[in-house]
Symmetry: C2
Subunit: 253 residues, 2 copies
């Protein structure tokens, strides 16, 4: 497992260099499900780069990835979960504030995860048997902070609609932050810049945070209290497990 | 004027060091107008540091500043407008994503402005007769981008309430970003990570962006189309002047 983890840490930096080299070229942008759901040639090419490197080293492993139809079941065998560019809108518009995410699972059990904020050179990695580090700095487990001294990251749509009472919960905090990427937002939860993150997201958006977060006292679940299904887009909350009873009292669930 | 501008650039870095030295100490936090309107001892001490440095060098100049009752009229004489820590909530919770802002006006005419994102070491400065730089990089004037390929920064309250139709305007962009600070948000407008910023803000929140932005094709005004009054908190929009007719068509004004 040490070897696979070292390989993943090296690979994610190589993928970042791959993206940065492509950033000077003009992007081919396509709209996916709706006007603000974008994909670029760099998303696809970076995913291809990641998959080919993984399968070259580990030909018997499987892939669950954002682009295309590479959707192996999380519970079957050794599965790498990949988001080549999380926060594609930020990537296109800001050329900043996007992340590469990689997670590795065996028979549905998370072994390690990596979230790399490319332009700010912040690599959060660990989980399973590995301690969590932000670059060279060891990250400590969650320690209680009062909600009224905390910030919550949220998807704009859920916030506008007050889905499950999330806007009500947020009104008891110091406020909302909307950064436009699950990766950079969940990284900020685990470095305690945010206390929680609420969004409507896919397996490759949460697979890495789930396994890293377990090591630090965080949990990801639906508003019905279920674990995410690793199959479809779901409304999920990533939060310190020890705060759940308190948060729940402000939610409409 | 060259001397004053050089002095200001040096001073803002000294104030940043002052803040960073204080960050290891525990903060004394006070609630101002409401639970999410905070001030710390470091806000006040940094303002005192800035004012005493300015008045030592320029004893005949005046100050318009955030904390206390240092509210000289912008239109009378040589006035330094100071926000010692813009984004105090981010400063308290995140220890990141806050700015120091300084602007210098003569008889109401902006001569230069500075916005310093302290923890990310990004200094945006210029305006009046000075070209605009982000650190060593010259910033070019605004160049047209389609709204549906752009992001808009907004205050959470205005966004939730759709004040003046801002949420409708934002729905025609790629989305909203909520960063929790006028300084860092308006810096992102001028580096073209955002196309506009909408908030409910005070003179020290916009004085620097107004003078820097004029040099780059940006304007700040109320939703009634008036210049800000430099006296009270107002709902304002900071945007590329050339896009106004188009933006206006989506607003309820």
């Amino acid at each position: 497992m040490e070897d696979k983890y070292s390989f993943a840490k090296k690979l994610i930096k190589e993928a970042a260099d791959f993206i940065k080299n492509k950033m000077s070229e003009s992007l081919a942008i396509q709209v996916k499900s709706k006007h603000d759901d974008l994909v670029t040639n760099v998303d696809q090419e970076t995913q291809d780069f990641l998959i080919s490197s993984i399968l070259k080293h580990y030909p018997n492993d499987y892939i669950l990835a954002e682009e295309g139809e590479v959707h192996h079941s999380i519970s079957d065998g050794n599965v790498w979960v990949i988001d080549p560019i999380d926060g594609t809108v930020n990537f296109v518009v800001q050329k900043n504030h996007f992340a590469i995410m990689i997670a590795y699972y065996e028979e549905g059990i998370g072994r390690f995860g990596l979230i790399y904020d490319v332009m700010n050179d912040l690599l959060l990695s660990g989980g399973g048997s590995f301690d969590v580090y932000l670059n060279e700095q060891k990250i400590e487990p969650y320690r209680h902070k009062p909600l009224d001294r905390s910030l919550i990251g949220c998807n704009a749509g859920l916030y506008l609609n007050n889905d499950y009472g999330v806007t009500h919960l947020i009104s008891h905090s110091l406020g909302v932050r909307i950064y436009g990427g699950a990766g950079i937002s969940m990284l900020k939860v685990m470095t305690q810049e945010l206390i929680a993150y609420i969004s409507y997201i896919q397996p490759w958006d949460y697979a890495a945070a789930l396994v890293i977060g377990q090591k630090l006292g965080y949990k990801i679940q639906t508003f019905e209290g279920r674990a995410p299904d690793f199959q479809r887009r779901q409304k999920l909350m990533f939060f310190p497990e020890s705060e759940w009873k308190y948060f729940e009292s402000y939610l409409d669930i």
